[in-house]
Symmetry: D3
Subunit: 242 residues, 6 copies
C-alpha cells in the first residue's frame, strides 16, 4: 500500500532524482504518499556542460536555468515539497554542519523510505559522497543518543539506491524493480524539462523500457511495461515471501 | 497475502527443509497456502552419521529411521503432501530422467515460490548439485517449447535459497527475512524429531533467534521475535517499494 | 586493422549471435575480415515461445521457421559461412563427440577472435553450458598434444563474451565497447528477421544506443553513435597502452 | 604459545570488545599474555539507546553508566590495562592528533596482534572509521621514517577484525576461529555487565555456540565447544601448513 | 610441528606438484612427515608441448619422458610414495569409478592436509576438474555413511590449493605463506628435471623469491628468504591467534 | 601508435613510478610520446627505511638522497619533465588546494593517458589516497563547469593503475600487459639508482619476467620477453576487437 507512506529523496544534483526515480516519485504522489525531495546542489560545475556552451554563460545564469528546469520537472511529477540546498558540486563537500542538517531533515520527515545515490558510481565522485553522507546520517537519525533540539529519533527506514549511469562498471545490482507503467508518461514529460541534456532523455526513456522488460521476465506479469530499478541497502523483512 | 499461494520445496536430504524453512512452511500451511515438499534423498550416506554409529546399523535401518523422523516432522509442520524420491546421496547424481521428473513436478504444482538450496555450499556438494538442478528445471518448466505430455508450461516463479550451514564461508547473502514468530514453536518441535542430530536442533533454534534480531534491527518491527532468512535467486518485482 | 582478421562466432541458439554481435559481425564482414558463425541449436524448445503459440505448431515447423529467420539475418549481415549443428536445446548437452567437433572447427578456422556466450547467464543454463564448452575446446585446440587427424594446433586466440540479457544480475562486466555506428542499420534490419520476438528487437536496438552512450562517455569520441559491448576472457596484451 | 604474546585491542565503543573478543581476551590473560584495551568512545550517542530511555538521562549519567559497565566487564575478563579515550561517537571523527595518539599507543605496546573492527560494517559507520584509522596507524607505526619522540618503530604485527553484528550483509569472512571453551563462562559473565542490552547478551552467547559448531565441523576437534571468529587483514605466514 | 603429520598431494599433471609445492613437500619429508603424491595424468596432451616438438614424438615416448622427469624430481624432493594413475588429460574426465578410487586413497592415507589445485584456474580446465573432484571426495571420505569395504571414515582434514599460473586472473588469494628457505635448493634442483620447460623453471624460481618477499613483509621475519603460498579451502581453527 | 601521445604519471612517492611503469615510460619517450611525471612526495617517512638506518640520517638528508636517486632514474628513462611537489607522506594528506593543483596540472598537460596508483593497496594507505585524488581530479578536469582561470577543459582520458606490491591481496586485476622488451634494460638500470632498496630491484626485475611470461601465454607472441601490467579504470573503447 503506497497511500500513507512517506518517501524522502536526496539528489546530489538538480536532475538526478528525475532520471532515476521520476516514475516512482510520480506514482507515490499519485497514489497518496507524502513525497519530499532535497536537491543538494544545482550541478552547476559538474552536470551543466551544455549550458556552459551557451555564449555569455555565467554561474548565476547556469544556476537559474538548472533551477527552472528542476522546478518544472518536480511540478510535472506532482512533488509539492522540494528544497534546494545550493551546495557547490564537483566536489560536493561534507562537514559537520551539513551532517546535522541532513539528520534534522530526516527526523523532520521521518520517512518510511529514503532514496538516494547507490554506494558506488564509477564516474561521479559526488554521487559517492552523497551516498555515504545520507547513509551515515540515517544511522545517526535513528539513534536516540544523538540529541538535536526539536527533533525526535526516527525508526529504522529502508534505503534504496539510484541506478548509476554506467551500472555494470559501478557494480550496481538491482534489488527491486518498481512498475511505473502508469506514470511513465509523466516521467518522460518531466525529463523533457532538461532540454540541454537530450541524450539523457532518450537514455532514461529507454532505461524504463529495459527495466520493464526485466520486470516482466522475472515476474511473469505481462502488464508491467515500464519500470525503474533500485539497489537495496538492506534486505527485505516481511511476514511472508515476496 | 499468504492464503492461496502455492509453495514447492525441494530438499536434497531428509531434514534440510526442516532446519532451514520449517517455520516458513508451517506459517504457509497455517495461513492457507498449499505447500508441497519433495525430499530427493534420505541422506543415508552423507547426513546420518549418528545413526551409523548405532550397533547393527544397515542402510535399510538408517533409511527407515530417517524416513520416520522426517514424516513426523512434516506432520508437525502441517505438510500434507511430501514425496520421497529416495535417490542415492553423497554424491547425488543427475541424469535426464531425473531432470524430466523435476520438470513434471514443477509443472504439476505450478508454484508461486520454489524454495531449495542456495547456489553455493562450501561443505556440501549435494546441495550445490540440487541447487543447479532445480534452477535448470524451473527454466525448462517455464518454456513452452519443452513439451512433456500431460503437462502445462508454468509462469516464471520466484526461487529462494536455504541458508547453508556455514553462511559466510559459502558467500550466502540474505535476501529476505521472513517473520516466523507465530510458528517458531512448531519448528522447534519438528526439529526435535531428528533426535540423532541434537547439535543441529540447538543450532537452528539459535539461528531463528539471530535472524529475528536481524529482522527487528533492519525493520524496526519489535514484534518480530524469530525469523528465517533466504537468499533470492532474482530481485523483487513489485508495484511499490518494499 | 580489421581486414585479414578471422572471427569465429559460436551461438547457443539461432538468434543469439544477431542480438548480441550483429553489428560487429557486419562490420568485420564489411571491412574485409573472414567471419564464420556456428549455430549450435535452433532454440526450438527454449527460445521459440512465440512460434509455439501459433496453431498447429510442431517441432519441425518451429525449427524450419527459426532456420529461415536466422539464414535471412545472416544474409543481411553479410555472413557467407554459417553452420547449423542442430543440437537439442533446453538442455543443450555436451559429450566427447561434440567436444571433438568444436576443437576441429576451431582448428579448421584458426580464428584470431572467438565470440561466444559469457561465463554466466542468470536465466539461461544453455548459455553457460556453451560458454564452458567453447572455452575448454579453445584450450584443447591450442595444445599440440591434442592430436586430431587432419588438424593443426592453433595459436592462443582472444575470447570475447556476449552480453547476457540481464547483465547486472549475471555479473557481466563490459571489457570492450566496439563502435558499430556504420553497421547499425544492418543490425536493425537483421534483427527484424525475428518477427516473432519483437520485444527483443526493440530491446537490442536500444542496447546499441545505450552502449553508444557509454562508448562516447568513456572515450570522448562523439562520433560513436552505436556500440556493442563484450566481456573479455583475458586482458589486452599490446605493444602500447590502449 | 599464548604466553609472552602481546595483544592490543581497539574498541570503537564501550562494549564492542566484550561482545566480539571477550573470550579470546580472557584466554590470553589467563594463559599469560599481556593484554591492553583502548576504548575510543563510551558510545553515548550511538550505542546507549536503552540508557537514554531511563527518566532523567543526561550525557554525563549515560557515560558514567557505560564506563561502570565496561570497567566491570574488563575486570571479569582479567584485563589489567584499559584506557578510555572518551571521544565523541556517532560520528567518531579522526584528525592528525588522534592519528598520532594511536601511533604512539601502538609503538608503546609493540603488540604481536592487534584486534579491532573489520573493514566493513553495514550498519555502523563508526566501526568503519575506526577500522581504517587503526590500519593506517599500524602502517605508520611500522615505518621507521615516521619519527615521534620517545617512540620506537614497531615490527609488522598481525591485524584481526571483529565480527560485525550482521556478518553476511557486511561481507564478513571468518579468517580464524579461536577456541574459547575454557573462558566461555567468563565471557558470559562479562557480557552480563551490560544489563541494558540484554538482547545482545543472548545474541553473543549464541554466537559463541555457533562458532564453536563451525570450529568443530572444520577441524574435527570435538572438544571445541565455544569459539570466537575474526577476519584476517593479512594471510598466515608460517614455517608449516596450519 | 611437522613431524608426524601426513600430507597427501593430488596433482592433475606430472609436474604441477613440483612447481607449486615442491619446497613444502621437501620440507615435510625432511622434517619427518609422511608425504604421498598422486599424479593423475602425465599431461601428455596438455602439458608436453616441448616434447611433442621433438622429431618422432609419439604418445608413448612423451609419456615415458614425462614419467622419467617426475620420478627424478620426486626423488630429489625425498618423496618415497608417488603413484601415477595415468588418466587421459585435456580433458581429464571424471566418473564414479575414479571418485571411488580417490575416496579409497584418502581413507587409506588419512591425511592431516591435502594439497591440490585451487578452485579456479583461468587457463586450465583440468585443474578445475581435479579441484572439484578432490574436494567432493574429501567430503565423502569424511562421511561414515559412505561405505567402502576395507576403508575407515576419515576426520575432517585441511585442504590447500596450489597457486594457478596466472594468479590474479584466476582470482587466487594466498591464504598461507610457507617458508621454504631450507629446501629451496632442492626445489630448484627438482624443477630442473623438467628440461623441456625451462621457461617454467625460471618462472617458479622467481615465484619462490616473490613469495619470500611477501612472507617477510607480512611477518617481519627477515630470515624467510623463499616461500610458497597456498589458498585455504577453509579458515584456520586454532586454540590461539595465528 | 605511441608517437604523438601524451602520458602523465602521478607517483605517490619518489620511486613508485620507476618500479611499476619505468619500462612503459622509457618506451613512450623512445618512440616519440610526450611524458611528464609528478612525484607527490619523496617518501621520506614511509619509503626510506634503509636510508634512515644510516648513522646521522636527518629528514633533509633522506630527502636529498631520495631526490638524487629519482632524478637519476628519470634521466635514464629519458623523462625530460619531472616535478617534485614535496608533500609530506605517511600520511599523505589532501585538501582543496592540492585538488586544484592536480586539476590544473591535468588540464595543462591534457594527457591521452594518466598512470597512477590502482584503487586499492592492502599495505599502503598513501597509494589509496593518491588513487582517489587523481581519479576525482580527472573527473573535475573533464567538466567544463569547473572553471579555473587560464585552463581549458580536458577530454575524457584513459586511466591506468600501477600494480600494487602485493597484487592478489590488493584485489589487483591486470587489464593490460604492455610489452617492454625493448626498454627492459633501461628499466633495470633506472631501478639500480635506488641502491638502498636492492630487494625491490630484484623483485621488480623478476616481475617484468613474470608479466612477460603472461603476455606471451595470453597472446601467443613469442617475441614478448618482458612486460609491465596495469589495471584499467575503464574498459577499452575501440572501432574493432582488440
Amino acid at each position: 500500500m503506497i497511500q500513507g507512506k512517506t518517501l524522502l529523496v536526496f539528489s546530489a544534483h538538480a536532475a538526478d532524482y528525475v532520471w532515476r526515480s521520476g516514475g516512482t516519485i510520480a506514482k507515490y504522489v499519485q497514489e497518496g504518499a507524502e513525497v519530499q525531495v532535497v536537491v543538494l546542489s544545482f550541478g552547476v560545475r559538474g552536470e551543466s556542460n551544455d549550458l556552459w556552451k551557451k555564449p555569455g554563460a555565467t554561474e548565476d545564469l547556469v544556476k537559474a536555468a538548472r533551477k527552472a528546469e528542476t522546478v518544472a520537472a518536480a511540478g510535472i511529477l506532482g512533488v509539492e515539497w522540494i528544497e534546494f540546498w545550493d551546495l557547490q558540486d564537483y566536489p560536493l563537500q561534507v562537514d559537520a554542519i551539513l551532517e546535522e542538517r541532513v539528520v534534522r531533515k530526516i527526523r523532520e520527515v521521518a520517512p518510511d523510505y529514503i532514496i538516494t545515490h547507490d554506494r558506488f558510481d564509477i564516474l561521479n565522485p559526488d554521487h559517492n559522497t552523497v551516498s555515504q553522507l545520507i547513509f551515515r546520517c540515517s544511522v545517526m537519525s535513528n539513534s536516540n543518543g544523538v540529541k538535536l533540539e526539536g527533533t525526535q529519533t526516527t525508526r529504522q527506514m529502508q534505503l534504496f539506491g539510484f541506478e548509476p549511469h554506467q551500472t555494470e562498471l559501478s557494480g550496481y545490482q538491482p534489488g527491486i524493480f518498481v512498475d511505473i507503467t502508469d506514470t511513465y508518461e509523466k516521467k518522460v514529460e518531466a525529463m523533457n524539462c532538461f532540454k540541454a541534456q537530450s541524450h539523457l532523455i532518450e537514455y532514461y526513456t529507454q532505461r524504463a523500457f529495459m527495466r520493464g522488460n526485466h520486470a516482466r521476465r522475472l515476474s511473469g506479469r505481462q502488464e508491467y511495461k515500464y519500470a525503474e530499478s533500485f539497489s537495496r541497502f538492506f534486505p527485505v523483512v516481511s511476514p511472508e515471501l515476496l
